[in-house]
């Protein structure tokens, strides 16, 4: 599993316009829709499902990152998008700190194993302090793409 396999780079939002958790989720889902990654008319339902999931337990894992996610029948493979916020988002994170880097993930309903493998890959990278730092510093979608592809090529992990 590589970032390039599931992250939609064209949908990256390097400077999120919204600042509340729910609005950020909607903004990122909308960005995926604009990039043509989602079926017609499903983005509202996807956003609602992600927010519902988030209300059950925050995916703000601490250290300024959150991985909101949901399984949705409209997708055939895992789709991810990156959103960054300089100002920080209140994600009700475990460490109560604002979130600056969001990786939003939509997985198919019938493939729990791929979902787990994708999450493993994301966490393996987010565990690295340098990766978190560089990701947060990106201000252009192109920089996010470069960073993630560089991480994909790093075989030391």
């Amino acid at each position: 599993m590589k970032f390039a396999d599931f992250i939609c780079f064209e949908a990256t939002v390097a400077q999120l316009q919204t600042s509340s958790r729910d609005d950020v989720i909607k903004e990122l889902v909308l960005s995926l829709e604009k990039a043509g990654k989602l079926g017609k008319g499903v983005s509202k339902d996807i956003a609602r499902a992600i927010i519902k999931r988030e209300n059950e337990a925050s995916t703000g894992m601490g250290k300024g990152v959150a991985i909101p996610h949901v399984k949705h029948k409209s997708v055939k493979e895992v789709i991810g998008v990156v959103g960054l916020s300089g100002a920080g988002i209140d994600f009700l994170a475990l460490d109560k700190q604002p979130v600056h880097s969001v990786i939003l993930l939509i997985s198919p309903e019938d493939d729990p194993d791929t979902h787990l493998i994708t999450m493993e890959y994301i966490f393996k990278n987010l565990q690295q302090e340098m990766f978190r730092k560089f990701l947060r510093q990106c201000s252009e979608p192109e920089q996010v793409k470069d960073l993630l592809i560089e991480a994909d090529e790093d075989t030391s992990l």
Binding site: A57, M61, L94, P112, H115, L116, E120, F123, Q127
Partner: protein, 106 residues
């Protein structure tokens, strides 16, 4: 609460068990959180391993890195004064409660 150095050092025990993930969705984020939540109730150090890697059982990021799918086996190891209780509670969560999630065929 941390014990003072020298106090109860004889109580330090190591306890280990193997568990199988039986819920259909595997050790995804919610079960991982339940696991870490219980692990953090104990003073003992807890490590969880699969065939390739060993991680800190009290860290949500590290536990998520195991990508333990349904049917995979994990080793839970606790070291400290309450090692036995920790291993018992965690294996109950995985093998008896299945993280309160559905099991295939049920």
């Amino acid at each position: 609460m941390k014990k003072k150095a020298g106090e109860n050092t004889l109580e330090k025990v190591v306890c280990e068990t193997e568990v199988e993930i039986k819920n259909a969705d595997g050790l995804h984020m919610r079960p991982a959180m339940q696991f870490v939540d219980i692990a953090n109730r104990f003073d003992s150090d807890i490590t969880v391993s699969n065939a390739e890697t060993s991680v800190d059982g009290k860290s949500i990021m590290q536990i998520s890195m195991l990508a333990a799918t349904c049917g995979s086996k994990l080793k839970i190891r606790a070291e400290g004064p309450d090692a036995q209780q920790a291993v018992d509670a965690l294996s109950e969560l995985v093998e008896q409660k299945h993280f309160d999630e559905p099991v295939p065929g049920e």
